[in-house]
């Protein structure tokens, strides 16, 4: 079976020590997970997972209500949720990182991942 290229992008994000979980999601739905599914998430994420999931739904409500959302970051306990909206959609690349992480460096890799996902989507639409 052919690997989902977006899952491969997520797999690479998961290689960063400071990315505890990542996915492509929209309201009430995770559309793409890393190849290993949620089992590839780092174990510390499970202590806040329920809170992260419910707050993400609020975040996606806002994204759906207001056009032009680019990025959104917010803190849940000692973790930070980063949402990078895919252009012209209500779908976002989401990553959860420790609050203490060097966020600037992660931002760059999130932006790179968003661009790659966008390119994959464009290629799929053209095919």
């Amino acid at each position: 079976m052919r690997e989902d290229p977006i899952a491969v992008v997520l797999d690479n994000l998961m290689k960063f020590d400071d990315i505890l979980a990542c996915m492509v999601a929209c309201k009430n739905m995770v559309s793409v997970e890393p190849s290993g599914g949620t089992e590839s998430f780092k174990s510390e994420i499970y202590e806040v997972w329920d809170d992260v999931k419910s707050t993400m739904n609020y975040a996606f409500e806002m994204i759906g209500q207001h056009s032009g959302f680019g990025e959104m970051n917010y803190r849940v306990r000692d973790y930070e949720v980063m949402l990078y909206v895919l252009p012209d959609t209500e779908t976002a690349l989401v990553a959860i990182t420790p609050f203490m992480a060097n966020k600037g460096l992660i931002e760059i890799q999130m932006e790179n991942a968003r661009r790659k996902i966008q390119k994959i989507r464009e290629n799929e639409n053209m095919a």
Partner: protein
């Protein structure tokens, strides 16, 4: 096999007429995670753009290959492709920008070939224990090779091992040491850690000063190798070898003109701090305005004491302490809080400090300000060294920096590395090892 086939390709590509020989520069790039694969790709993508074998090869990577095969394997990948004997220097950096991307994970390189250029590389070890001896050893290698060169323009590109967080007994690696006996002993322990274990500040200002003594007529640009801003470990690359706590340098003599320029994008605030006591190394502030350095700093800046925690670096990197010497600003990022003392990245040569601040806009404006100095000349390529703190500050907005560089350089190659500190020297102007700056060197005709 691949190296042999590329060698063959070079032979086939060699122009038949002398006038066709010119400067060729190729920038390499890899985002692969496997060390060997990334090494191979970063070399191949650079040298494929050349008709001639490269005269030198600059190589940079982020720290991630430490855990994905190791740096020796990374270099083995490079040498699987790179023609044997090519002078190579480089090291680990926090991130980089080249014409093909902006990265906080991956590898990049720059290969150049030019007949009107003599090249040498040097290395000196134990920079944290004896930076002057290390710089001298490195300089001697380059001087020996270049002494018979007849070219009038001289250039050094150097990478020095940057600072690491010292390890304290019972506490491990800490940016803030606030408890008990260790906090009182910390200033002394940092000295022991530095000379015995070679963990601590990079002493790059001392290696640079010695390089300038050895090469007073050379333009110099360089930076401090580092990891992903955690300051745990960093590596230097020299030909086929990996080093720690070393300086590596590329020396060039050529007929091309060399120009170096520094800009900051920092605002000098009205907040002034007077150092009233510092230690012998001039890197540990003991008192500010006749009170403990910690209290003096917090009072001036208006922060509560509990603001000082392990996320300190994320806060203080935006407000470096600057001093002025010879009309030049020396911004210095706070590294550690050791009890009531403050440790900074390099020597504070003056006691009058200015609190500096930056915004994303001012940092980006400084790119334009810098590049404006290089207009109206035929730039062949650009080597740029900037501060990892700027990378951390700008985050995804470093793509704006790339856009500016692409607009300026057009189809000419450039390579920007984000380092732990930046070094420049311009004959007749002076030298500076600083933080939070943007430094451009171009070779032009």
């Amino acid at each position: 096999m691949l190296a042999a086939s590329l060698q063959q390709e070079f032979i086939q590509k060699i122009p038949q007429k002398k006038e066709e020989v010119k400067l060729e520069v190729g920038v390499g790039f890899s985002e692969k995670w496997n060390a060997w694969d990334a090494g191979r790709e970063v070399a191949e993508t650079a040298i494929k753009k050349l008709m001639q074998p490269p005269d030198f090869f600059l190589l940079f990577s982020t720290i991630h290959y430490e855990k994905h095969g190791g740096f020796q394997e990374f270099l083995n990948g490079v040498w699987d492709v790179l023609p044997k004997g090519t002078p190579l220097v480089g090291g680990t950096v926090a991130g980089f920008i080249n014409p093909y991307g902006c990265c906080a994970q991956g590898a990049t390189s720059l290969a150049a070939s030019y007949p009107e250029m003599d090249v040498s590389v040097g290395i000196g070890h134990n920079t944290k224990r004896d930076p002057i001896a290390a710089a001298r050893t490195c300089a001697k290698m380059i001087k020996t090779d270049l002494k018979s060169s007849h070219y009038s323009h001289s250039f050094i590109y150097e990478i020095t091992s940057g600072g690491t967080i010292p390890q304290f007994p019972g506490l491990g690696r800490k940016r803030v040491v606030s408890s008990g006996l260790i906090s009182r002993l910390a200033p002394y322990l940092t000295g022991i850690s530095l000379t015995m274990l070679q963990r601590g500040v990079g002493r790059e200002e001392e290696t640079l000063a010695e390089l300038v003594r050895q090469f007073p007529d050379y333009h110099i640009i360089g930076g401090s190798s580092m990891d992903d801003n955690n300051m745990v470990e960093n590596y230097q690359f020299f030909n086929t070898n990996i080093s720690k706590n070393s300086i590596v340098a590329l020396g060039i003599k050529t007929d091309l003109k060399i120009q170096v320029n520094t800009t900051y994008g920092l605002k000098e605030t009205d907040v002034k701090l007077q150092i009233t006591k510092k230690d012998r190394s001039e890197r540990i502030i003991k008192e500010i305005d006749n009170t403990s350095a910690l209290n003096g700093f917090l009072k001036k800046i208006g922060w509560p004491e509990d603001f000082i925690d392990e996320r300190l670096y994320r806060k203080t990197m935006f407000i470096p302490l600057g001093f002025k010497k010879d009309d030049m600003l020396f911004p210095n990022v706070i590294g550690l809080f050791l009890g009531k003392n403050i440790l900074v990245g390099f020597k504070l040569e003056k006691d009058d400090l200015i609190l500096c601040s930056a915004s994303g806009k001012s940092l980006l404006d400084s790119v334009d300000e810098n590049l404006a100095q290089f207009q109206n000349q035929n730039n062949h390529f650009g080597l740029i060294v900037s501060c990892a703190a700027r990378l951390e500050t700008l985050g995804r907005n470093i793509y704006v920096t790339q856009e500016k560089l692409l607009k300026f350089f057009g189809d000419k190659p450039f390579l920007l590395i984000y380092a732990g500190g930046e070094d420049t020297y311009i004959p007749g102007v002076g030298q500076r090892h600083i933080n939070e700056s943007f430094n451009v060197a171009t070779l032009s005709s």
